[in-house]
């Protein structure tokens, strides 16, 4: 199971980094979201992988899974969710004020560089 989880985190991080480096705000938002997913799974794994074991005290339990990373992930998810919502609103505002969705708000957008628009 370890290699599968590691692979998933790796792929999500790669895709996230690639999308974050794109020139359009929408791709950047998606990239940051994927990075947040990757880091959430990563945090979760840092409590070690356990199957079918309780996180809170249980008289019948033979072992426990680490509850702290679960609490950390919960916090991280909430924060990432809020930040993503804020970023989407900001990206829309930038689209409205700068007239295009390039991250640098270029003066002459899409016409010259149609290849970059759809990613």
């Amino acid at each position: 199971m370890e290699w599968l989880i590691a692979l998933v985190i790796g792929v999500m991080t790669t895709v996230g980094v690639y999308l974050t480096l794109r020139a359009r705000t929408f791709a950047v938002v998606l990239g940051l979201t994927l990075l947040a997913y990757a880091v959430n799974v990563f945090l979760f794994v840092m409590g070690r992988l356990t199957i079918g074991q309780p996180a809170v005290i249980d008289a019948a339990a033979i072992g426990y899974s680490d509850p702290l990373p679960q609490a950390l992930v919960l916090t991280a998810i909430v924060i990432a969710f809020g930040m993503t919502a804020f970023l989407i609103v900001l990206a829309l505002k930038a689209r409205g004020e700068l007239g295009n969705d390039h991250v640098d708000g270029l003066a002459q957008p899409s016409d010259e560089q149609p290849t970059e628009v759809k990613s």
Partner: protein, 508 residues
């Protein structure tokens, strides 16, 4: 266990939410509430300072859970100093915003202002790395709102960059925190420091890597080379009081490096003791050179002040990188100076830009601004302080840092870079001063706003701190010496945090 340590965190939070409803009572109510709260915060931080000077760590157990399991707030001299600087800077920034009606340009200025202080004070007082992450997010979210306050194309563009780069920083922070937790099994700073000392040799590589990743995150906040590119645009394009308040934001990064790295990888850490210091020193030197070039290349006064902030951050990084109690003491002295004077310079640059009307803050020939002599004198005063010329506090701060660097093997590089960049900055400031104040057109009509004396008071209040720092240099350096020694004594910190017992008879 007194609740005093927790109040600087709770007061802005409570006031922030009260201000949300105070909107119904009108702007005057919001303004007076906010001013009262900031004044209260100053008194509170003076009281904290009085308690901290005793040299005993004040550990506050949140929810009465004992140390490695619960979250703690820790007050020592360094933290008390940061909280005090923040509240003084906040008072000046708020006063300026009210005097210039900047708080009216958008919704919820006062609410965001208090939440910003909540995040800052929390970051200074917390003793837990994950809690530090949460407070970072709080102060960042408030700063996003403040940065975009008012509006304008350039502000939105700079804001977008600022938000994206900080979100990436948050992701890296979580990766670093996750790795450290995976290896050490704890996130309490004191407990981490104790665990690093006993870590098996196999784990040291992973711990070192995670520590450096954390350094990248704090370096991003502090605008360390090569992660500073967001700073000039963000600071130059936001409103003046926000830029002034943001002078403390870069120092949060510096503070976190000193607090987290200095404690976890402190003297007790064995093989990893202070392994980060050469990185900080080298990157600090690179940042300082590039910041000096930026000061020379700036096209407007606000951008120039933003690069001056960068230069001051770089000087602080060098002080941290030199890595001795003496250097840290000098760094703290320079930190007080650079934060407050940079805040004053942002406000002053805004007054000058408004006085020049359509010419704004660009370095070009413009009609004489109203009250040019007063503003020009203030500019000269601020420029002397910022570039580190005698007789003001910037000079003494730099001398102290250079003196501490003499014991270091890199002293030649440190001396060369600091002195050359100082010269470049003096030349650049002299040039911009003469362009703005001397090369004027003789036009009879007043070009821009006349000087608002109430707003000027905020500038004067911040700039006057520079001579005060010089006159009272002896007691202040005595204090920073104590604070630096306390910070370097990580064994006492660990002992103080981990031995604090829960208050009996209090239900959780």
């Amino acid at each position: 266990m007194s609740h005093l340590t927790a109040w600087p965190v709770f007061l802005p939070l409570i006031v922030g939410f009260v201000l949300l409803f105070a909107r119904l009572g009108g702007l005057r109510l919001q303004r007076s509430l906010n001013l009262l709260a900031v004044l209260g915060l100053i008194f509170l931080s003076l009281e904290l300072m009085r308690v901290a000077v005793s040299g005993v760590h004040q550990v506050y157990l949140l929810g009465n859970w004992i140390a490695p399991y619960g979250i703690v707030l820790v007050l020592d001299q360094f933290a008390a100093l940061m909280v005090l600087i923040t509240s003084v800077l906040a008072l000046a920034a708020l006063w300026y915003a009210i005097a210039k009606n900047i708080d009216q340009q958008g919704a919820h200025f006062h609410v965001l202002f208090q939440l910003q202080l909540f995040g800052l004070n929390g970051a200074f007082l917390t003793g837990d790395v994950f809690n530090l992450f949460v407070f970072f997010e709080v102060l960042l979210l408030a700063s996003y709102g403040l940065l975009l306050h008012g509006s304008g194309r350039l502000r939105t563009k700079a804001g977008l960059h600022y938000v994206v780069i900080n979100l990436i920083g948050s992701t890296l922070f979580l990766f670093a925190v996750g790795t450290l937790y995976g290896v050490l099994g704890t996130l309490n700073i004191a407990d981490m420091a104790a665990k690093v000392a006993q870590a098996p040799a196999d784990d040291l590589g992973v711990i070192a890597a995670a520590g450096l990743l954390l350094l990248v995150v704090f370096g991003l906040k502090a605008a360390m080379f090569p992660l500073y590119l967001w700073l000039p645009a963000a600071y130059a394009n936001t409103s003046a009081p926000v830029a002034a308040l943001f002078a403390i934001m870069t120092k949060v990064g510096i503070y976190s490096i000193i607090r987290v790295h200095g404690t976890v990888f402190g003297a007790q850490a064995g093989e990893l003791a202070f392994y980060y210091a050469p990185w900080v020193l080298g990157l600090g030197l690179a940042t300082l050179l590039l910041a000096a070039l930026g000061v020379m290349a700036a096209r407007g006064l606000r951008e120039q002040v933003a690069y001056l902030v960068l230069a001051s951050v770089a000087t602080l990084l060098i002080g941290v990188g030199v890595n001795s109690p003496q250097a840290l003491s000098a760094t703290l002295y320079y930190l007080i100076h650079s934060t407050l004077i940079a805040g004053g310079m942002f406000l002053l640059a805004d007054l000058i830009a408004r006085g020049r009307g359509v010419h704004d803050d660009r370095f070009e020939s413009a009609p004489i601004m109203p009250n040019a002599i007063l503003l020009g004198s203030a500019f000269l005063f601020g420029a002397i302080a910022m570039t580190g010329m005698p007789p003001l506090s910037g000079f003494f701060g730099k001398v102290l840092i250079l003196q501490a660097a003499l014991d270091q093997s890199w002293y030649a590089a440190v001396l060369t870079v600091v002195l050359v960049s100082g010269l470049l900055m003096i030349v650049a400031m002299a040039r911009s001063g003469s362009l703005v104040f001397y090369r004027t057109q003789s036009v009879a009509v007043l070009p821009g706003d006349t000087l608002n004396s109430s707003a000027f008071m905020a500038v004067a209040g911040l700039l006057i701190i520079s001579p005060i720092l010089v006159i009272f240099a002896n007691p202040i350096t005595a204090f920073t010496d104590m604070a630096a020694l306390q910070q370097y004594d990580s064994a006492t910190y660990i002992e103080a945090v981990l031995s604090t017992t829960a208050k009996p008879g209090v239900s959780r």
